[in-house]
Point group: C2
Chain length 493, copies 2
Amino acid sequence: MKTTYRSIFKWGDKREEKLEKGVVELVKEQFQYTDTDFDKKILYGNKEVRLSQKPKIPVIVRQQFETISGSENVLRDDYSRASHAFGKFYGDLLYLRKGEIATPPDLVITPRSEKEIEQILTLCKQENIAVTPVGGLSSVTRGVETPHGGISLDLTKHLNKILKVNDVNSTVRVEPGVYGPVLEKYLNERGFTCGHFPQSFEYSTVGGWVAARGAGQASTGYGKIEDLVLALRVITPAGIIETKDFPATAEAWDLNKIFIGSEGTLGVITSITLKIRKYQPENRALASFVFKDCQSATQSMRKIMQAGIGFPHLFRLSDPVETTTAFKIKGFDNSLSDKFLEMKGYRQGERCLMFVSIEGNKAYARLVKKKIKRIARKHGSFFIGAKPTKDWLKQRYDSAYMRDPLMDAGIMTDTVETSVTWDNLLNLWTNVRVYLESRERTHVMSHISHVYENGANLYFTFLSPMKQGEEMPDYLDYHHGLMDAILDNGGSL
Amino acid sequence: MKTTYRSIFKWGDKREEKLEKGVVELVKEQFQYTDTDFDKKILYGNKEVRLSQKPKIPVIVRQQFETISGSENVLRDDYSRASHAFGKFYGDLLYLRKGEIATPPDLVITPRSEKEIEQILTLCKQENIAVTPVGGLSSVTRGVETPHGGISLDLTKHLNKILKVNDVNSTVRVEPGVYGPVLEKYLNERGFTCGHFPQSFEYSTVGGWVAARGAGQASTGYGKIEDLVLALRVITPAGIIETKDFPATAEAWDLNKIFIGSEGTLGVITSITLKIRKYQPENRALASFVFKDCQSATQSMRKIMQAGIGFPHLFRLSDPVETTTAFKIKGFDNSLSDKFLEMKGYRQGERCLMFVSIEGNKAYARLVKKKIKRIARKHGSFFIGAKPTKDWLKQRYDSAYMRDPLMDAGIMTDTVETSVTWDNLLNLWTNVRVYLESRERTHVMSHISHVYENGANLYFTFLSPMKQGEEMPDYLDYHHGLMDAILDNGGSL
């Protein structure tokens, strides 16, 4: 029976339990760790959940919620409240590990229908109670927290149905609480794909994708979530707003766009119509390249995006540290391939790894790949075949699961992203690295994912031993400094 | 010296002066017109402009505007006010022809700088004066009218500069008052295209494109204006809002999208950063097809958009009436080609004409064309080469200029569009045609332009003799019925 803080911040996925051998080696080397350091169980969080705050909502009001949704769908036990207090932001995990939950929701309600949501919102408005709609609780932008307590409205239990696949229009209508893999499997079986694969894919819901306005790993080809949403139905305290699934409209501003990214602040999304695409994995064209340095690699990325040759779906570039780290973790360090690349002038510590995948029609995917190969070659790259990209795709969601066992060993780790125009990319990249590396004993890796005609998204990942006893201020201080470094260098937040 | 109402509703373009021979023939045949009917000069509007309403703004306030922008930029003569009272909506033209201007602006101001706009807005807020920002005044959605009088803020005179082409980011920053052809020529000379070609291209401004949220003829490939805008600077009564030219962001909802389509109601756009693309007209791949009927043609369009083969840039389909009309106007009627098509089973009155243009990289454009040809062939089309599309492109903006000489001959004509999902397209098309054709002596043509994965935009064009003396109620009645027919059949407005 799961009743500990630990059971909240661990998804329960087996990939969270153990670090890959290569990662252990890296940590040992970087931070002079020994095997015993990995048994530290820092802030292990294995105490039973106990909240000091009782629910603030009066019994008479709670009973009204129970009348609306049934008492089995109105939860007020400590564990339910604690498990809805946070998302998966690094700071959230630290709080849970420390057993510190300052503002849990007073109640967790799992409504059974849109009608119930309407009634709940009406009651909350009348009683001045805050409502926070939540899906998979995988948010790293603190969108699911309940700073004013109130209701955490969990849509995953009942509002998780796939309502209709429209083969002709190439759309799917779903309820907000459906998880990514459930939707994708359903669509694949019918010859479609949703094309949206955020890092949180396995534990996030369509409603969360929309509310948090994310981009998936294949967004360079398929678009970000805002490009995929055709229609929404939203329950707001002022009434129901429903947009239609028109392929395009020009009636004043676009109402969809006001709800996409609103993090649940404007209403509760109860139905979403998404574009879907043909699922043709057999047509997928994969390509992997090694470049001599970041300059030539990013230049090549830019040229590819601006060439008028269509776009790859997955387009990813690792910086020299991430590339070296990947080689080490995968055991390619000092392999024949490694030595061969070195000999050819692709030096460790400078070389960058690029992954490309193109989907769609077979001839189309082949042509785009051919054109990309040509541009990449012009920029001095070495083509290393399909396999590295294929391997990367297989473990595409795994890295997120390293966070917990790393934290168990007292290592802080987080990934932060920014979007930046091409003409400012190398400048921002360099300066933000300088900031991140100004911290002692810190391993900083970065990569580009989600590439656009006019710029790209940069991701910075860092690992560093926690300052024990000061884990939170240490992290927040470093994190704020990182935000400042990004803003000072012209990146988006 | 232009001082008549007629000089306002005529652009002064020579294409407005005379109807093509083929159009004259069509009108004669359809409406039993004789040559003398074309000399009717119905509602010719050649009276001198005289406004009965004096400007309502007190002299002392006007003088403050003059202090801000210079007296030469604060216009209050009848002609300036009249020429800023309307856009180019059919009803607007009728009013101008009748010399009826109910609510002209009190003043027309042509500000010289953003600073002046700020000062003007501050003063207007203080004095409770309405402000309507305008560009090329080509709006057909009544966005430039001044129902409360006040200020018509004309941005075309001074705020019309191209500020910066960024070759690396592939963007251009402009002031709102720059006209389409000026921008396009400037970009072409530097190897780029803006890729946005609305029907009003020749007489519309970038600010207007954004405020009215339009789609261009090549939007199927390049995207609509909202897909092209990366950043905006907007002066609002509450302060300046500026978004950055990040290639993407996810900071809550997208502020750009709130101003795009706002028709100037939320503020005055003073700077726009647009995506631009490589200008490679030599790579353009053109294709034209004849289909046996609307069903097979639209089915083919849908399959093309959903095939994962990339998208054509221009993608246009004429219904059987428009196709027949085009054949007639171009003199192909009873030609050898006409007879050949007839013999092959592509019958007049049923056959549909499709135009396709693909831009970008040469091999890419060729491949997309090849794939489109294959899908079109599967749906029974007959490939008729590049020339018809090439010819169409040459006169792509001309049809709008027929409106004035047709009105001179007492013929009402307008084009109305709606977007619709694929599964509802034929239903809506049929029913709206039934409505439009329920009017006596009416020639109804329709076409598809702006095609999406999930549906398409349908355009209905009608020609019909005006009810003389009741031109306005007759038009409004017919037009309202059309709106109802579209809505009742599930189209967007």
